[in-house]
């Protein structure tokens, strides 16, 4: 059994004392930052990137994966306790989770989110281990045309999920692609859009953009909101354990959510966000037992389902990143960036050239999930304490860590200035209702897309039809067009708006 051998190799790596410690440290740090209101996984990972600079590639990625899960979980905690989802994918958790907390059932809500996530994480890990090798095989059949089409599909997929205007989201992607053009052209070696600033010839650092837009931008956006009275349900979190009836209710929801998330996570542009929305809709449509609490009033299925789904989706969204080197969402884009910093070119070759890293990372995802459950349920009191710290004290600390992170990127204050600039840009995006996540994805994929486009054209002697005459490439492009058509259909369009409205 290859699968077992591979997993055994992985667990061998993941269970070394140092790697367990790094996974643990990552989960703690991720939760710590993720619990801070208004900081999602993207900002959290960007902020904590410097903490892995000094590490080797394998522990660095293991720690980052831990940070990711921690941040994700921290986001659900704030969603349930103070109705402030730390990230888009726990937006739906807040609907029923917060209601449960208001009814004094914060404990069972948190526990069902944690247990559901853990179960989903276990399944997700198995799915990755089973599907990564065959997909890698497929990836070796990909030429530049296929890669280009796949990235186009991924970008379109990301857009379909952005809330708000489709056209604006596509424009944001293109803006991201354009920002990615500030670099030295790989083929001709010509520096572009650098204005003779030497730092710009290497391109803008993606961390500076992420930190500026998601870190500073969100801080400013939070400060400009009128200070709202936040209710934190500290005293009520006593009975943590769900009742037998709760377990009966949540088990099928967890199973459905996990299945849904595992599938949707693999899709380009998919991942945690799509999964949690889809699962909430599914749970709402599924008939529960008679006399159950209605949805929107604190139904435990509305917490367990989406939370399992987003964790499964978060897990399986590693698949396109690990096998094809193509990040399906902004978080994975950061992981790709981190891998590149560590000197690993993400792509199908990683599995064969670096099996220790590959399988170690997969196994440590499971370890990370385990950490979260043993860490978060007992420690929930500490996280709640953190929520009672007023924002005016929290945000200078966030600012400080962001600045240190920016400076240590290249030990150069240039990135700090770029971060500040993008903080302003982020504020403008926020005010103009332009969602920034697609921009970051476009930015990361930009150079890759350009290189593949130009290579494909070079190979076809300038014939654009190469993208539609090669069957794999054509299939991917058709899928991308279909996605746009489907979301533009009036019926789906109103459903989509409804889904995002529900979330608001």
């Amino acid at each position: 059994m290859d699968l077992l051998n591979n997993l055994a190799l992985g667990f061998g790596v993941a269970f070394t004392l140092t790697n367990v410690l790094y996974a643990f440290a990552g989960a703690v740090l991720g939760t710590l930052i993720g619990v801070l209101p208004g900081l999602g996984p993207v900002a959290t990972i960007a902020m904590l990137l410097p903490s892995v600079y000094a590490l080797d590639a394998t522990p660095a990625l293991i720690m980052l994966a831990g940070i990711y899960y921690g941040a994700q979980y921290g986001g659900s905690t704030t969603a349930i306790l103070i109705n402030v989802p730390g990230e888009a994918s726990s937006v739906v958790t807040a609907i029923d989770g917060y209601k449960m907390a208001r009814k004094g059932r914060a404990g069972p809500a948190l526990a069902s989110a944690g247990l559901g996530s853990f179960f989903a994480g276990c399944v997700g890990t198995l799915v990755i281990a089973a599907f990564a090798p065959p997909l890698t095989e497929l990836a070796f059949k990909f030429g530049p045309a296929e890669y280009f089409s796949l990235m186009a599909l991924g970008l379109i997929g990301a857009v379909v999920l952005a809330s708000g205007s489709l056209v604006k989201a596509i424009a944001m992607i293109i803006l991201g692609l354009l920002l990615g053009q500030v670099n030295t052209d790989v083929i001709s070696g010509v520096p572009r859009y650098s204005f003779d600033i030497p730092e710009l010839t290497d391109g803008i650092d993606f961390v500076a953009i992420a930190m500026g837009v998601f870190g500073f931008g969100e801080i400013i956006a939070n400060l400009s909101k009128p200070a709202e009275h936040r209710e934190v349900f500290t005293r009520d979190v006593k009975g943590l354990w769900p009742s037998a009836q709760d377990f009966k209710d949540m088990t099928p929801a967890v199973l459905r959510g996990t299945a849904l998330g595992s599938i949707l996570g693999v899709l380009p542009g998919g991942g945690a966000l799509l999964s949690s929305f889809a699962s909430y809709t599914l749970e709402k449509k599924t008939r529960g037992r008679p006399g159950e609490v209605p949805f929107g009033e604190g139904n435990i299925r509305g917490v367990a389902g989406p939370e399992s789904a987003n964790n499964a989706g978060a897990q399986t969204s590693f698949i396109p990143m690990l096998t094809l080197g193509i990040p399906p969402n902004a978080v994975m884009a950061l992981m790709v960036g981190a891998m590149t910093i560590k000197g690993i070119q993400p792509g199908p070759q990683v599995m064969t050239s670096d099996p220790q890293l590959f399988w170690g990372l997969i196994a440590s995802m499971w370890v990370g999930n385990l950490m979260l459950i043993i860490l978060n349920l007992p420690l929930i009191g500490i996280w709640i304490k953190l929520l009672t710290v007023p924002y005016r004290i929290l945000y200078p600390a966030i600012l400080a860590f962001c600045c240190i992170g920016l400076y240590t990127l290249n030990n150069n204050n240039f990135d700090v200035f770029v971060g500040a600039l993008f903080g302003f840009v982020g504020l403008a995006f926020y005010k103009l209702g332009c969602e920034p996540a697609p921009l970051l994805l476009g930015f990361i994929l930009g150079p890759m897309m350009e290189e593949n486009l130009r290579r494909a054209l070079l190979l076809s002697r300038g014939d654009w039809s190469t993208f539609v005459t090669r069957p794999l490439s054509a299939g991917l492009l058709i899928a991308a067009v279909l996605m746009i058509v489907i979301v533009s259909l009036p019926a789906i369009k109103s459903k989509r708006e409804e889904a995002f409205q529900d979330a608001d």
Binding site: L178, V190, L458
Partner: protein, 154 residues
């Protein structure tokens, strides 16, 4: 013509301007041909595409009625200015003054943005966060960050 959605109007305009800037900028580089695309090929095409999409957003903003006119709302420039100036100051200060002074500067100026500033709190935060950062980033993770002002010698 009346603007029906403020947000879309300005974002459309932003996309058009940025698209054109990139497309015009691309003319400085060799365009190549489809068979041999040069460095300007991709950014030029994208710039045009962005400007077109911006035009679409702008058009919709002028034509489609939106309830309430979709105002941009209060910008919060004061908070933004304090936060971003604090970051820039940190950037200027760090190579010269080191983390020991640059972080307190960042925290005190940044705290002014909250509208409920208290010097005592800001000072306490400065000490705690600076000490914590030194412990974690310099001692713990071994990152090379200047800690003390350069004029104090190494």
């Amino acid at each position: 013509m009346k603007i029906k959605s403020q947000k879309d109007f300005w974002s459309g305009l932003m996309f058009i301007v940025i698209g054109i800037v990139f497309a015009v900028g691309a003319t400085n580089y060799s365009f190549g041909s489809s068979a041999r695309p040069g460095p300007a090929y991709f950014p030029f095409g994208l710039g045009i595409l962005l400007a077109l999409l911006g035009g679409l957003v702008l058009f919709k903003a002028l034509v489609i009625e939106v309830e309430g006119g979709d105002p941009i709302g209060y910008w919060g420039f004061k908070s933004a200015a304090f936060v971003l100036v604090a970051v820039v100051l940190f950037g200027i200060a760090i190579p010269v003054l080191g983390m020991g002074l640059a972080l307190p500067l960042l925290i005190i100026v940044g705290s002014l943005g909250s509208g409920e500033f208290s010097l005592k709190e800001a000072l306490i935060s400065s000490v705690v966060i600076t000490a914590f950062s030194w412990l974690v980033f310099v001692e713990g993770l071994g990152l090379t960050i200047p800690v003390w002002p350069t004029f104090l010698g190494s």
